[in-house]
Symmetry: C2
Subunit: 353 residues, 2 copies
């Protein structure tokens, strides 16, 4: 690095600030480029359909800790994260490629375990793994995956389509992956202090499973289509409900009101957060991330069509004031909604290692 | 890594052996998957055309040395390597995505320099950069790029189509990137010993340019089409002429005879190799790699159509015996052709750092 000029630290901008700045450098010029940087996936005109395309990199020590993450689960999760981005565009994933960086700590058998997890995920989501690259790394494991999928030209849903009065919906429940990580980190500490102690994880099976082996909600894309509902905006919950909702609001130039009592939290997760970690469960659900649920908005006219869906929760509504980002608490107080989300450019000790 | 079972070192298999082993674990099942792992790019049926898709990871300290690689050039080269894989399938590249892993050594300005190089390459090749991922890395820079392109269903050329008597062709000249790297490594050593010394690179401008800013031969794909020639097999020269030719022979189940005196080597590269580095120029051309030229075979009936092309060289022919891999030397001796190529899983000191 020989540059002696101005030096701006990436941490000053954060990941999203950096992406915005880079986006301004990159103009797309091709007529078949429908949407580039700035959504869950790029959108490319492929003739009679749109091609959706996403990429995601996972770095050891930043995104995962192999002391408690089995390689099979890691492979599965890497595919899930990419497939989830395709689902978040209301698309159907079809293929993935994987590039692996491997330090000499990793044996052939370890790579096979990783591939076994990816294979299982591909089978689960109906996608084919069709290629990639394998190379050496000086430190640890790097997984760089990319997924493609397709959507009808009228079906693609971006982050930018939310309108005032639209209903904010989320699938499944939230905060589980975050609490699962806290449990794993706590058990790791216990184990480090006394290697004879066996980790007790059965009691936290749901939360730990949410962290280690999340599931992309490709099912919801099909169910919404069958119900005749096309979301107005959509994103997957990877950074955290609040952060991801703000992406929708920013792109849609809208505000939002969320109701704390509507945010779905699993009972075990709720109790573990509150009792054992003295954490506010709603904060975990709002800021935990990595749940890979789908967060979307619908036109109120579509509410009747899915109001009885057992796994879709209606947690708030979109407002016309872009400055308005409000949480209505259980006590009916209005408080500013805040996004902590994940910022891997913060010191590592804060970012889930 | 808690596995206590059998441990096979990746270096025992090498990169290609590892890929073969992983390939056997991954079955593709979708009817739209035309070709998966095992060629320069995957081939996917997109309706009225084939979608081509490749991915490539570059890791600091393994693939590049930032002490003599400007970030702009690195960004350009990363795009080139991916675009070259699409060209090697006889396809036309259209879009790239990039995932970056960045340690805190890198400033926003450094990332912008990298993007400026990628932007310039995108403009050069007529492709759009449409997305990716940016995350932290614990050590150094990781670039993971992926490119897509398209080809008519009758146009795709794989590694597997070479037939006995086909003529082996290569574009441009070979060994330059390797000699350029040797020059840069030598100048780095001089500089490390005495930082007041300024590197003298003008004399080696061609070779150094081949190393730092290679060009993908997308032009050749168009020219062959215009000449009415569809190669029977094709690959890009990234690992080295011999290694890449063996990929064609292995997939095509054929042998090959190469003529040493036909292998194109730039005069400056030749002299630098022989005089300054005491290296056999032909060996550099056969095993250097990273030239990103196109290596392909044609039906002898097509020879007339391109025999006067100034940048296509006819260096040998395909034989029917898969065991036969022969170099006909300038002295008319027959010697076994050997592929050293690049193997990043060898100790770093041997692999171009």
């Amino acid at each position: 690095m020989s540059t002696k000029e101005k030096r701006t630290e990436i941490s000053q901008l954060g990941e999203f600030g950096l992406i915005e700045r880079l986006k301004s450098l990159i103009a797309t010029v091709r007529p078949d480029t429908v949407a580039g940087i700035g959504d869950d996936a790029a959108v490319i005109d492929a003739g009679n359909h749109y091609l959706l395309w996403t990429a995601d990199m996972l770095v050891e020590g930043i995104h995962f800790d192999l002391s408690f993450t089995p390689l099979q689960h890691l492979g599965h999760k890497a595919v899930t994260a990419n497939v989830s981005d395709i689902a978040a565009m209301n698309g159907v994933p079809s293929h993935v490629v994987v590039s692996l960086g491997l330090s000499n700590r990793f044996s052939v058998e370890a790579v096979e375990a990783l591939y076994e997890g990816m294979r299982a995920a591909c089978e689960q989501y109906g996608v084919d793994l069709v290629g990639g690259d394998t190379c050496a790394s000086r430190s640890g494991l790097i997984l760089s995956l990319s997924a493609i999928g397709k959507a009808g030209k009228d079906d693609v849903v971006k982050r930018s389509g939310a309108k005032p009065k639209d209903i904010v919906c989320v699938t499944g429940d939230l905060g589980g992956a975050y609490i699962g990580l806290q449990v794993l980190l706590r058990e790791k500490e216990v184990y480090m202090a006394n290697p004879d102690m066996q980790p007790v994880l059965e009691k936290y099976a749901y939360a730990v499973g949410r962290q280690l082996r999340p599931v992309a909600r490709t099912d919801i894309v099909h169910e919404l289509r069958e119900a005749g509902v096309r979301p107005t905006a959509m994103i997957d919950v990877s950074d955290g409900l609040a952060s991801d909702l703000f992406h929708i609001c920013a792109r849609s130039k809208t505000g939002v009101r969320l109701f704390e009592d509507k945010i779905p939290i699993d009972a075990q997760v709720y109790n573990t957060a509150a009792m054992e970690f003295k954490l506010d469960p709603a904060t975990c659900a709002l800021n935990g991330g990595e749940d890979y649920e789908l967060l979307f908005t619908i036109n109120p006219a579509d509410f009747e069509k899915i109001k009885n869906h057992p796994d879709i929760h209606f947690i708030g509504y979109i407002t016309d004031n872009p400055e308005e980002r409000i949480l209505v608490t259980k006590q009916n107080n209005l408080v500013p909604l805040q996004a902590q989300g994940w910022n891997h450019f913060r010191p590592a000790s804060e970012s889930g290692r």
